[in-house]
Structure formats: C-alpha cells, structure tokens
Symmetry: C3
Subunit: 274 residues, 3 copies
Amino acid sequence: MSARLPSLPALSPDAALAALRQRQPLVQCITNAVVTNFTANALLALGASPAMCDIPGEAQVFASVADGVLVNLGTPTREQRDAAREAVQSGTPWVLDPVAVGALPVRTALAHELVLAHPAIIRGNPSEIRALAGDGSGGRGVDSIDGPDAARAAARELARSCGAVVAVSGEIDLITDGQRETRVAGGSALLTRVTGGGCSLGATMAAFLGVTDAYSAAVAGSAIHAAASEVAASSSAGPGTFAVAFLDALAVVDGAALVRQGRLSSDGGWGATP
Amino acid sequence: MSARLPSLPALSPDAALAALRQRQPLVQCITNAVVTNFTANALLALGASPAMCDIPGEAQVFASVADGVLVNLGTPTREQRDAAREAVQSGTPWVLDPVAVGALPVRTALAHELVLAHPAIIRGNPSEIRALAGDGSGGRGVDSIDGPDAARAAARELARSCGAVVAVSGEIDLITDGQRETRVAGGSALLTRVTGGGCSLGATMAAFLGVTDAYSAAVAGSAIHAAASEVAASSSAGPGTFAVAFLDALAVVDGAALVRQGRLSSDGGWGATP
Amino acid sequence: MSARLPSLPALSPDAALAALRQRQPLVQCITNAVVTNFTANALLALGASPAMCDIPGEAQVFASVADGVLVNLGTPTREQRDAAREAVQSGTPWVLDPVAVGALPVRTALAHELVLAHPAIIRGNPSEIRALAGDGSGGRGVDSIDGPDAARAAARELARSCGAVVAVSGEIDLITDGQRETRVAGGSALLTRVTGGGCSLGATMAAFLGVTDAYSAAVAGSAIHAAASEVAASSSAGPGTFAVAFLDALAVVDGAALVRQGRLSSDGGWGATP
C-alpha cells in the first residue's frame, strides 16, 4: 500500500462499521450529477458526513480536512476534472471510481492521469477495471458485461502496478491488493435496476477510509452494501421502493449481517497481512 | 420522417414494450440537473440502459454507439450545449425536449438551432411546442398553461416543417407527424406534482427509438407513462410516494395496460402508414 | 427591511400557507447539484412552481418574472456564480443560503459579495451565520456544530448590518430581523439524516416571499418544515422513507399544524411591527 496513507488499523467489517458510526467521518464527493443526491443520502444513512465540494479553488482546501475523498468520473465537467486534480494532492486517502473508462476519451485520459496520484482504492465494474489495466475495450459505458472473475487478473495487475486496493463489483464483489483476495457475496439483483448503487459504494468505501486501512475499507464497504440490499429487497415492490428501503437499511443494518456465514471468503483473511 | 432514421418497424405500444425489455436499448441522456436521477431510474425500471454522457469530446463518441439520444434543455450549461451539438451529429435518432423554450434566450436560440439537426421526436408541453413553432410567447417557464388542443395546429406545423414527430404532453397527450394524429389518455394529476414526469417521458421515447420508428416510439412512451402513473396513483399517499411507486410501476406494467380500451385514439391507427 | 422588497403584507404562517397554495408562486432556484431534485419536489408538493434556471444570460431574465429567488451556494460552479450575480439584480426578493461559508474560499468571497445585494432572507446553520457575520471560523463545512443560541448575537448583528431577515436552523429555528425574534420548535431529528432539508427550507422561504413579507416568509417556511417533518417521522422506518413521507406531508399539512401550541414563540409576535 501507498506510504501516503495514514496508518489506520485493519478492522473487520463489523468493527469498521462501529468505528464509522462513532466517528462520523467527513467524506468529500466529487461525483456525477446523476447520483449526488443518492450518494449523500447513503452516506448520511450510514452515519458519515458527506460534502459534495467539487469546484477548483475549494476542492483541495476541503480534501485536506476530509477523512476520505471520492473521485467518480461519471459526468466529468471541466471544473470537476480540475477539482479532482486538486483534491488528490491533499494527502487524504481517496477512492477512484473510473465510470465508463475505456469507452470515452476525456475520462479515460483523466483516469490514467489520476491513477498516478495514488488512489487508496479503485472501484469499478469488470469492464472498467479491465480497461484501466489496459486489458479489454471497456464495454459499452456504464454496464458491466463481464463477471468479476473475468477481471480478476486485470484487478491483481492493476493493484500491483499502482499500489491501490482494487474492488471489482458484480454479483460477487472481488477485492484485491495484488496479493490478498477477498470475495463478498450477497446483495440483490435490484441494485442493478437502480442508479447509484455502484457509485454510492465508492463513496461508502471513502467513508471507511476515515476509520480503517484501504483493504478493510473496501471489504467493509462491499459487505454493508450487500447486507443492506438484502434487507431492502425483502421489503421492496420494485426498484423505486428498493432504493428508498436501501437507505433505511443502511441506517440500521448491524455488524453481524456484514460478517454473516457465507458473506466473506478470503485467501488470507480479509484483513490479514499476506 | 427523416431519411437519417434507421428503418425500424412500426410497433404497437405493447409490442414496442416487449421489444424494449428484450433489447435493453442504450439511451444517452443530455438532460437537466433536476431530473438526472429520476430519469436514469425511470429508464432502468423500464428495462433500458441509461447513460448521462454530456460533456464535449465524449458526447458524439457515445451517441454513435447509443440506440437513442435525449437532448433536454432544462439547465443548459455551456458544456451541455456543446455536448448536445456534438451528439445530434451522430446519426442516432434523438428526442428534443425544449424545456421552457420561448421565455429564455439561451435555450431558445439553441432549440431553434437543434431543430435543424433533424430530431426524430420533439416532446414538450403546449407552451413549448407553440413557442418552438413560432406561435405564442412560451408561457412562464416550465409550466404548461394551455391544453394540448391549443397547441394542435402548432404541433402539426412544427412536425411538417422539420420532419419530426411532435408529442404534446397534457392531460391527454397528442402525437402527430403532421399528417397522422394519435391521442393518449389516462395518467394521473399527481404527475404534475412531481418533477421529472415530462423529462423522463422524453427519455422513455428515446429508449423506444432503439426498437421502433419515431411515431410508434412517441405513442409507446406516452402510453407506458400513462399506464404506470395510473398504477402508481392507486397506491400513493402523495407526491413523494407517487414518484417512488411510479418507478416500481414502470418495471412491472404490462403491455395490455398500454393499449387498454380508451387509452389510444387515432385518425389513422397509431402505427399505420398514412 | 430593504426598500427593494415589494410591500407584501405580514401574514401568520397558516395564512401564508393558504395564500401560497392559492397563488402558486414561481420560484427560481439557483442551488446545488445534490438537492435540486428534492428541492423541486418539495416546492411542487408545497403548491409552488419551481424552476431551476441557473445559467448566465437567462438567470436575470427569469428572476424578473419569478415571485421569489433562492441562491444556494452548495456547489457553486462558475456559471452558477455568474447566474447568481445576475439574478439578484432583478429586484425580486431573494433568499441567500450560504452553504459552508467560512470554510471554503470561493463561496465565502461570493457570499460576502451577495450580502451587499440585499437578500430578503439569509438562511443557514449556526456555523454559517456566524461565519457570514465575521464571528467564528465556519465549522467543518455543511455541518452545524453550534446550537442556534450560539449564533443568536451573530444573527442579530448580520440582520442589522445588511437589512435582511436572518434564519438560523437547528433543533429550534431562530428568526430575527435584528429587532424582533421568533423561535420555531418541533421537527424531527431525521431531517439531519437526509440531505436537502435545510436547502429545501431556503427554497420554501423563497416561495413564501411571493405572498408575504420577508419576516413572515421565514417564519412560515420554518413552521411548515417543522410540521411536515413531524408528520413524516411518525410514518417512517428510516431516512429513506422519511424523505419520501416528508414530500407527502408538505402536500397535505394544514395551517393549524403550523401554529399549534408550542410551535412559535416570539418576543413581539411573529409578524408584529416591533
């Protein structure tokens, strides 16, 4: 992992959730126009404190006091691109979400530039992770075409080459730092019928960066999203009610659901030193 | 219709819905900041695949692989205006939603420019359609003051002059290509108490452009929004729950509801060649 | 109060609500990307007519026909900053919401500039009001650290120095014009777990500026948000369902709930001339 990260302890997902709710980390989101509201509400429900500070001249100032930063490239206006470049200079650990990278030139160039600025976590779907690793053509935009295993080799290579934890989202999430590997199971297919599921997961991981190390943060983020979506799906009549119930669930889901039998599998323990 | 449109077949609304859910068309939305989230969720609920790709340098690249494009002028930043100009060069069929045209100078100039780029469908409220046709002053912004019939002559004239299908939204939606005319009845007054109803309808029509011709796409879009809003209204306690239930309904409403007795009336059959 | 305000009558909150629902004031919102949708839906639910017209070249045109204007500095892009400067020249009464002022340089400079353009109402949390009055460092962004009473002196001073009504949001809202002072009690802690509560309150106050004077508008806005959030909390399972129920409640809450026993306390009557 990057020497730039503060040496926060590894924590199990349930311990990370307890720490997050206690510390209420301040999370700066430079994110796309589609999901700002849902992302802010997800962070508030989770117990974090979101702020969408995304203009040049303020982004670095804010990042330097934030506990975690999200840079999501979904709708990267010129001001957001400059704000992202500012924010990642702050030394605060940050998450890169390279939405639709590979297929589209402006964000692809920016993503390759930002990767050099030491993200703590890179979160994407299989197509995006493969495109960022230089493997594959990037799919048709926001969609995930491949399963996580199709991106496994690319994820490990990307993690090693840039010193980040890489999280590949799918039916089963795959998290790796290039050596260790953890899989997070569960969740609901309804998450794919609502916008912002993946984008808010990146923000959740940024929140966990305020209380634990990057690997633990990625695992905890995936685990709470999986657990909350299971709760939400059980009381939903469709994608509209699911999105609402997902926010309710983030606020109440307990640590035990994050580490329930069958949720996590790892080749070395999710937080163990390899 | 414009020779630039692919020669997709005319389809009845129920057949168009089945085709949409099967093909999951990729819909590019250049749309306003207020409704991006609701629009993306409406498209996902419907079974389409939305992407809000709206910056210069990417908009045309994306439009060339999209199945349909929406250009909505609700909050037209400089970058969005340039992105719209790019996207409509792609040859992909597209919908123009000239929000508040007539009353406001920047978007009015842009709308008149874009009309020359061969939209497949123009969707607006009566004030907007009249303003775009050069008839009337455009109302007081986003509101519809006149009923659809007040815009009937303007709609037919606009359709003839620019070769587009024109859809006028109101209690009863009116769709015309300058010769044929179809009315779509039903819906709920609660749609007027929620933002994004009309804007997401434009996006829905863009989704249908991926599976059928422009006239059928406009009719099918109006029909599914009317049907889904009826379902939603029956289980809502107010505008908040209505918006959520509307998304649920889009995911499950069946084709029969789109063509139920009393929904459609036409002078030549909704999809018949005139 | 500023001589630029139209001489609308003072009204009690229940009378103001009745007037708003009857006149459906047109409210222009120049507001942040996170809350545009929620704000528009809150205004529609309330019975007002929102329009998010926020680009240079249109903002002043629209403001001159609007009944009230909101300028919220939450995500102040360059175009929004210029649009705000335009809109406040229109002579239409307007609300300033100085989100996160003090902590961040671009918006802080803009807020100090806009204060000179005679806002009718300034609404913020205690940290923001103190920062704008030159007292305190502004907190850590969007959060309120201090209680309303910590900002009481700053609010009175700010109101006197710029001729605006100042509304400090908190568990109990405090409204002052530098002489009179009204407190509005009630509400729900769930409002702090949802984004847009405070931002939409600024918009609601702007809507009331279309039917009553600035002091009455600020009190009525606080009162209806408190009343609606009480209704919503009673039927919510968490922050997701609360936000939805809040919109439902805005549409149906009656005037009596706004002035119920214990809601309002004032040193001179909420609408009395001092």
